[in-house]
Amino acid sequence: MLENDEHKEEEKNLTESEIEVLLAEVEVIWDLIGNDSFCSYKVKTKTQQFCRNEYNITGLCNRSSCPLANSQYATVREEKGLCYLYMKVIERAAFPARMWEKVKLDRNYAKALEQIDENLIYWPRFIRHKCKQRLTKITQYLIRIRKLTLKRQRKLVLLSRKVERREKRREEKALIAAQLENAIEKELLDRLKQGTYGDIYNFPIHAFDKAMEKQEEETESEEEEDEEEPVTREFVADDGFEESDLSDFEDMNNLKGSSDEEEEAEEESSEEEESEEELEEEKTKAQSKGKAPLKGPIRKKRAYVEMEYEQETEPAQKSKAT
């Protein structure tokens, strides 16, 4: 800043002719970089031309907004939350290192506006207005930043692709190893055996067996004959048990009293399955009858045949004897 003041005294000594020369140079500059020519700061889009120069006040590429093609120019810029006013005058056009004068603006918005008016007194209306507009926008976004930092912010956690892939593969393998459905079924059956369901389901055959065994142990040996009868009775109970299962499910339907369609549907389907099972079992029974128990009637037939043979051979022998 001190340097600027010293050199200002020198600058004020510029003659009018020198100023005219400088102005002419500026015209040349706009011809060179202006409307359709090349400028390294220019960004062209379909409808608009933008200027990427940091000192540009509006951001558009215009004759009045170009910091290179205007000898007298001013901008407001923000650094680390503080606003500065930059000014460029024709007297310093020859000294690029000191071209821009930097004035720190007050943090208070109203005071900063006054400061701009002070510094840019007698400057063209356009530049003054645009500087103030820019200051407004800057203060607004600074306020927003401060507000957002107080709120919760999303923390982005970086994913490592390799790790994600590895985890995914391990999860697949763990799923296969888990055999979930088997595990769940096993657990449910264990719970049924332990009796956590109480008396809801009426097919505790094993419990019945255990109870019968206990009774056998308790009674004396005299009752062994009687014990045999219940043993055979158990077999009979097994055979007729599928039918009783069906009736149990029907009873359960009545007990529950709920008209859950899917429960009924499930039970119907289970009944169907059971009836299918029954059919299958009957078929297997029929087949087994074809194999082993059928030996009963077949045996009779065979015995029949054997009897015939014996009869035939005996008279033959008798005849031979005589």
Partner: protein
């Protein structure tokens, strides 16, 4: 003679012909005598020769031509497979011959078998564990003083999938309420929940329109668990699913939670559901831990007879992986972490699991 037989065999199987050509060209690499043996072996198809014999110093990678190399490699594999089969047959014969004296069948190694024994594995009769569990934050629940009441919410601005997931979770967990998170800080939400009598807060974090994280916080200053959620399947994406779950309280199955940490997580899940399951509903929620992945499933079961049960999957399914367990309620900065998953330390061994 050889060529004629070669052509006939070619017509039979292309591969054999190819290999024969390969062998002929490979002549300079291998000893001619052996090559003749190989040719004879193949033509006569005697099993005793067991295919081509490679000299011990030969390696398939030395052949420069890719097709020939590939063909040779395939033959090598075939040979190895045959040897393996023969070995198996031999062993089986020996077993039969020995009969009862045969040594017991070897159990194949699985990851679960080879798991490094964790010191914190809970012994069922351990008194210390029992005492701890009697006095920890869940003791109120397990001694039936409190009933669970769950608040389900999401991270900011949830997308459709997450919202539907929350709704389905609310049907699965009884006494669950879904609330839209309107940019509220969790630290402020939690005291409000406590005052309204909630016992659990469940926050489902979302990333790119898909739920990927779950924070489960037990309320009256209970532990907070942070999980990674994956493989979320909503109800309409499930195959062969049943109808929607009813309002009955489901049963809970917790499988394979063996260590202390696993136990505490298991209790965390158990306390989500009310105590007395309504067996009338025949619904069961399963949390199955396998290799540190917790699989959640929701089924309806039916007992066909005392040895058979049919299950039908309703409800959403997802997998969880524990990332951290914190002692108090949710506090990411100053919280006291009981367990944090540290990738470099804990993922170094494939046989070490923590739950």
């Amino acid at each position: 003679m050889d060529s004629n037989e070669a052509t006939t065999s070619e017509s039979v199987s292309k591969k054999r012909g190819k290999t024969k050509k390969v062998k002929r060209k490979v002549k300079p690499d291998e000893a001619p005598v052996q090559e003749m043996d190989q040719a004879e072996g193949e033509e006569t198809e005697k099993k005793s020769v067991s295919g081509p014999c490679f000299p011990p110093t030969f390696s398939v990678s030395e052949i420069k031509n890719k097709q020939r190399r590939h063909a040779m490699f395939l033959k090598l594999k075939e040979e190895k497979r045959k040897q393996k089969l023969e070995l198996k047959k031999k062993k089986k014969k020996e077993r039969k011959a020995l009969g009862d004296q045969a040594p017991p069948k070897e159990v194949p190694k699985t990851i679960e078998n080879q798991r490094i024994y964790d010191e914190t594995t809970v012994n069922p009769e351990d008194e210390e564990v029992a005492f701890d569990e009697g006095t920890d934050e869940f003791s109120a629940y397990f001694s039936r003083l409190t009933n669970p009441k769950v608040l389900i919410t999401t991270s900011d601005r949830p997308r459709g999938r997450t919202v539907r997931f929350c709704e389905q979770l609310a049907t699965v967990i009884p006494h669950a309420h879904v609330y839209y998170r309107r940019g509220l800080a969790l630290k402020r939400v939690i005291p409000q929940c406590v005052s309204r009598g909630f016992t659990y807060v469940m926050v489902i974090n979302e990333d790119r329109k898909v739920p990927n994280g779950l924070v489960l916080c037990h309320l009256p200053d209970g532990p907070t668990a942070h999980f990674k959620v994956s493989n979320v399947r909503l109800r309409k994406e499930m195959k062969r699913r049943g109808k929607d779950p009813t309002e009955h309280v489901p049963e809970v199955i917790l499988n394979n939670f063996s260590t202390r940490l696993g136990h505490s997580i298991g209790r965390l899940f158990a306390a989500l559901f009310p105590h007395d399951p309504q067996f009338v509903g025949r619904q069961v929620a399963t949390f199955h831990n396998q290799r540190d992945f917790i699989f959640f499933r929701f089924h309806r079961y039916i007992f066909k007879n005392e040895k058979k049960v049919g299950i039908q999957e309703l409800g959403p399914r997802f997998t969880l992986k524990l990332r951290s367990l914190q002692k108090g309620t949710f506090d990411s900065k100053f919280g006291e972490y009981e367990w944090v998953h540290k990738r470099h330390e804990m993922d170094s061994s494939r046989r070490k699991f923590h739950l």
